[in-house]
């Protein structure tokens, strides 16, 4: 085992992730190699120092802030749960639907505006001023055509 291989295994030894056989090999190497022994001691020391970082904890106020935000989130969820299905559609989808709806209405108005004069002419032709109903006028037209 060379020193580089040994040092990689030292890291695993410090973590307790080494097999029993490997542990024995590394231990033998460390006993005979001052450089690797020093690496082992320093890695173990730094590891001990890092373990003490586990004591670091944020203030308890942080957990309370998290709970408050979750409570808000839960409340918002409850409010939307009472809405009908369409009420829970995302805002984006609702805006799209609205835009399509407005577009259709606008289109229809335009058609009506464009065809308004033409329709009036047609109606004048088929229903001049005798007070006939629309269907009466059509029947009359049909009869005239049939009699020709």
């Amino acid at each position: 085992m060379d020193c580089r291989d040994c040092q990689q295994r030292i890291s695993m030894l410090v973590d307790g992730e080494l097999s029993e056989v490997s542990t024995q090999e590394v231990t033998r190497h460390i006993a005979a190699c001052p450089d690797c022994r020093r690496v082992y001691e320093r890695m173990s020391h730094v590891n001990d120092v890092m373990r003490s970082f586990a004591d670091l904890a944020p203030s308890s106020a942080l957990a309370e802030r998290v709970k408050a935000r979750i409570a808000d989130e839960r409340k918002r969820g409850d409010e939307t749960a009472f809405l009908p299905v369409w009420g829970r559609v995302s805002l984006a989808a609702m805006l799209i639907l609205l835009a399509v709806g407005v577009g259709n209405l606008a289109g229809r108005s335009m058609n009506e505006m464009l065809t308004a004069d033409h329709s009036e002419h047609v109606l004048e032709l088929i229903a001049p001023s005798q007070g006939q109903s629309f269907s009466d006028a059509l029947i009359t037209l049909g009869t005239e055509e049939n009699t020709r």
């Binding site: 040092q7 003490s52 970082f53 957990a63 979750i70």
Partner: protein, 194 residues
């Protein structure tokens, strides 16, 4: 209503997913310190870490129904969310920092300076260094490691996670985790010796 007894994480998550506020809060109490330390270890910024804690738990709350104990433990799943959130924040912090500093950086925290670590001549004084000073020195050196090395080492040494769990969180293999941790330790010793 308060959650009863020391339920397992998975049991708490199950009940929280069913709508129990008390069980969700128990998870918040249990894991806020771990999520905070992990976020702080990645970003190096306390204020940012607190924000990440909040965002992580909100994400957890919204996705609790997706948690599958067969795929990973609750802790592993939570730390995966934490790491993703932290990396997003770190990238955002880096972008902000880049606006202020135009010079090239050796790594995400900039090159180590002589003032960061004790000089060789000061090494004799290490024996009388207080635990607090040693703690600060290691913490400072850790900031000079690349994010992946730093996170892998912190999850192992501080949070006592197995190589397999770390591999799952970091979406890599166990052998990569071994290598990341070894390289992290080797670099850490170099930084502390300089």
């Amino acid at each position: 209503m308060k959650a009863d007894g020391p339920l397992s994480d998975e049991e708490l998550a199950k009940r929280a997913a069913e709508g129990s506020e008390a069980h969700f809060n128990a998870l918040v109490d249990r894991y806020t310190p771990l999520v905070y330390r992990t976020a702080l270890g990645i970003t190096g910024a306390a204020e940012e870490a607190e924000e990440i804690v909040q965002e992580t738990f909100i994400k957890l709350f919204r996705n609790l129904d997706r948690f599958s104990p067969e795929k990973a433990s609750f802790k592993t799943w939570l730390l995966t969310i934490t790491r993703n959130q932290s990396i997003n924040s770190l990238n955002s912090l880096k972008r902000k920092a880049a606006r202020f500093f135009s010079e090239a950086r050796v790594d995400e925290y900039g090159p180590a300076t002589e003032g960061d670590f004790p000089l060789s001549s000061q090494r004799d004084a290490e024996s009388v260094m207080t635990v607090k000073q040693e703690y600060a020195r290691v913490e400072k050196a850790l900031k000079h490691l690349p994010e992946r090395q730093r996170t892998a080492l912190r999850l192992r040494s501080i949070e006592n996670l197995s190589y397999g769990e770390i591999a799952h969180i970091m979406k890599t293999s166990t052998s990569s985790v071994e290598s990341l941790i070894f390289r992290a330790r080797r670099r850490l010793l170099e930084l502390l010796e300089d």
